[in-house]
């Protein structure tokens, strides 16, 4: 056995920038929160309505911002129309470019249908809110539930297309063994659901809803998604442990050769286990102690968002630093400009702006599965009962 030193090799820059992480994060939040909104808004389960209202807000805002991040990751963003002029059915990215706009339209129409009765009820409101309500509600005719079911089912179907293409697009890349595994797409979905449940928990707190129903439902979803993620990660590991090449072998090599990868693996594992343990702890407390503990569930929501974002950062950014046909790892420092920190902060800023604009002008708290203005209870903006909220002063409405 000889030992070798690499004397000379170029340093290869990463090709996908943090914009890609932002897109994958936003679109995962989008499709997962759509499924959290679906029980009430598509399948008519009334107990899920408080969750659905928050999830729909999360879904629409992330769906609007995600394509912006995706466009920004192109080095020639103004050539985006080439996707449609020269579509290549051989490419997963091209398939995605066809699914994404349809999905975007589906989500916008679904949100509009869900908010329309409330918009109709607000047509007499003073100022811009009233103007927007009059302009957006498009007449007094009631919104048929059947139409919502139809649009909802169509959008849910398109969302599975998004799940499939975002996962497959990365998983087919043989050149990066860490990506090239069938377990990557389901892991994207599982961590996406964890993050979306976390986002609903955080919105439940900052929007002042503080519904214990929402917290209980989201903690259960998170528990299930954590279990699925653990199963997927375990299967990935066991599936590859025999192989000398492939995803698991590449991961073991990285963990063996790099202190950064060791700490990343440790951090990821610990955070996942801690999140699962904390969710299980909250759900198994006696009913009397729950309200005090549930008031802190939003912290777990932040941890869940961290898990969803970090998984995408590690997969999309860190894996690109693993050299492909030279030794070791390429250095990557996040630049300050638009392809780095400014892009990350900017995406979140745009998202915050979208949430705030909707909160200002759209009565999203009264979203419902169809109906007309008459179905909106007057002078009671919050649909949930006071007994349902956790302790603490309610936030602004």
């Amino acid at each position: 056995m000889n030992s070798a030193i690499e004397l000379l090799a170029p340093r290869y820059d990463i090709a996908w920038y943090p914009w890609a992480v932002q897109y994958f994060f936003m679109i995962a939040l989008s499709y997962a929160s759509l499924w959290l909104a679906a029980p009430a808004l598509v399948f008519g389960r009334a107990r899920w309505l408080p969750t659905a209202r928050l999830a729909l807000l999360a879904c629409l805002t992330t769906t609007l911002v995600a394509p912006v991040a995706l466009l920004a990751d192109l080095h020639q963003p103004l050539r985006f129309w080439h996707f449609y002029a020269y579509a290549n059915s051989h490419s997963w990215m091209s398939v995605g470019s066809l699914v994404l706009p349809l999905y975007l339209v589906g989500v916008i129409v679904l949100a509009w249908l869900a908010w329309r009765p409330a918009l109709q009820a607000h047509r007499q409101a003073p100022g811009i809110a009233g103007f927007i309500a009059r302009w957006l509600s498009l007449g007094d005719a009631p919104t048929p539930r059947a139409l919502m079911v139809l649009v909802g089912l169509g959008t849910l179907a398109l969302s599975t297309g998004i799940m499939l293409y975002t996962g497959a697009e990365v998983a087919i890349v043989k050149a990066r063994p860490l990506w090239h595994t069938v377990w990557l797409p389901p892991m994207f979905v599982a961590t996406g659901v964890i993050a979306a449940a976390g986002l609903v928990l955080v919105l439940n707190r900052v929007a002042g809803e503080r519904s214990t129903t929402v917290i209980r439902q989201m903690l259960r979803v998170m528990l299930g998604a954590c279990l699925v993620a653990a199963l997927v990660a375990g299967s990935w590991f066991l599936d590859g442990i025999n192989a000398h090449v492939g995803s698991v072998a590449a991961a073991m090599e990285s963990v063996r050769d790099s202190a950064e990868w060791r700490s990343t693996a440790l951090w990821g594992g610990l955070t996942g286990v801690a999140l699962f343990g904390a969710v299980l702890f909250l759900l198994t407390r006696p009913a009397a102690r729950r309200p005090a503990l549930f008031a802190w569930a939003w912290v777990l929501g932040l941890v869940a968002l961290h898990v969803g974002w970090m998984f995408r950062w590690v997969v999309l950014m860190d894996v690109q630093t693993v050299a492909r046909h030279s030794a070791g790892f390429h250095h990557y420092g996040i630049p300050a400009g638009s392809s780095g920190i400014l892009g990350i902060v900017g995406t979140f800023g745009l998202w915050l702006a979208a949430i705030l604009l909707i909160d200002l002008f759209v009565p999203w708290r009264q979203a419902r599965q169809g109906g007309s203005a008459a179905d909106i209870p007057p002078a009671q903006p919050d649909a949930h009962s006071a007994a349902e909220t956790t302790e603490g002063a309610p936030g602004h409405g």
């Binding site: 030193i5 020639q76 080439h82 996707f83 051989h90 997963w92 499939l164 497959a168 377990w183 299967s235």
Partner: protein, 258 residues
């Protein structure tokens, strides 16, 4: 872990619920990710390259001449020569190994089917090129190439790569790297012509030729003669270039780890 236990764990994994996804993934990689039809170029030719490593002295004349011919931005390379110091652990004898690298113009290129706008395509003579007027700069091909042969050109903001100097071949000239190689290590030619030098050398050295990362099933068409099989896949070597940064994080130079 002993092999029996490892194989048992592997079996367990296959029994788990996710095994249902395996056929799904083969549909995905076979159905959508297939090669689009080739276009342009002379269908009667198939260009390939043979690199005789016994003749390579690592002078980087190819790197420099390619850089000048194709005006690649500083720090990005269409071709370059990686160099390794290999030490025999028993005798302590030290030798330098050179690995010239460029686009392999694969028979089954991983970079072509991923392109969402068919800006990168394979010509009928086997040369893989990029239409930089159509390229959207999504960099999917850069990630899809196992050989680091592609990069985003910072000036054009589109994908860039070795074209075997197709513009020179069409004018009856040799590619810049071949023209400048002092040892005559790089041989390019039409592999469909049995009388070409590359065809004769391939016939003569058939059993000794190696390609990079054959397990990726890309069928590279750059063949190495005098290759050390440890460099066929990602070399198990100590990386050299640790950036030395000044207090402001600006790069000052490189240093060796030991």
């Amino acid at each position: 872990m002993d092999p029996i236990r490892r194989s048992l764990l592997g079996q367990l994994a296959r029994l788990s619920a996710g095994a249902a996804m395996v056929p799904l993934s083969s549909v995905a990689s076979a159905g959508i990710n297939q090669q689009p039809p080739r276009r342009e170029g002379d269908p009667s030719k198939r260009y390939g390259m043979l690199i005789d490593l016994r003749q390579c002295i690592g002078c980087q004349a190819c790197t420099v001449s390619c850089h000048i011919e194709n005006a690649a931005p500083l720090g990005s390379f269409r071709t370059t020569v990686s160099q390794y110091e290999v030490e025999h652990q028993e005798t302590g004898e030290v030798a330098t190994f050179m690995l010239p690298r460029l686009c392999n113009h694969c028979e089954n290129p991983a970079c072509v089917p991923v392109c969402p706008v068919e800006a990168t395509y394979q010509r009928q003579d086997g040369i893989v090129v990029v239409d930089s007027d159509r390229c959207v700069g999504c960099a999917y091909c850069v990630n899809a190439c196992p050989y680091d042969a592609r990069f985003i050109n910072e000036r054009t903001q589109t994908a860039d790569k070795c074209t075997f100097c197709a513009h020179r071949l069409e004018a009856g000239l040799l590619p810049a790297c071949v023209e400048s190689c002092v040892g005559g290590a790089r041989i390019i030619g039409d592999m469909r012509d049995p009388q070409s030098q590359i065809s004769r050398m391939i016939a003569e050295h058939r059993d000794e030729l190696m390609v990079l990362q054959p397990e990726k099933n890309t069928l590279p068409q750059v063949f190495y003669l005098g290759m050390d099989e440890r460099f066929v896949t990602r070399p198990d070597a100590e990386p050299v270039a640790l950036d030395v940064l000044d207090p402001h994080g600006k790069e000052m130079g490189y240093e060796f780890r030991h």
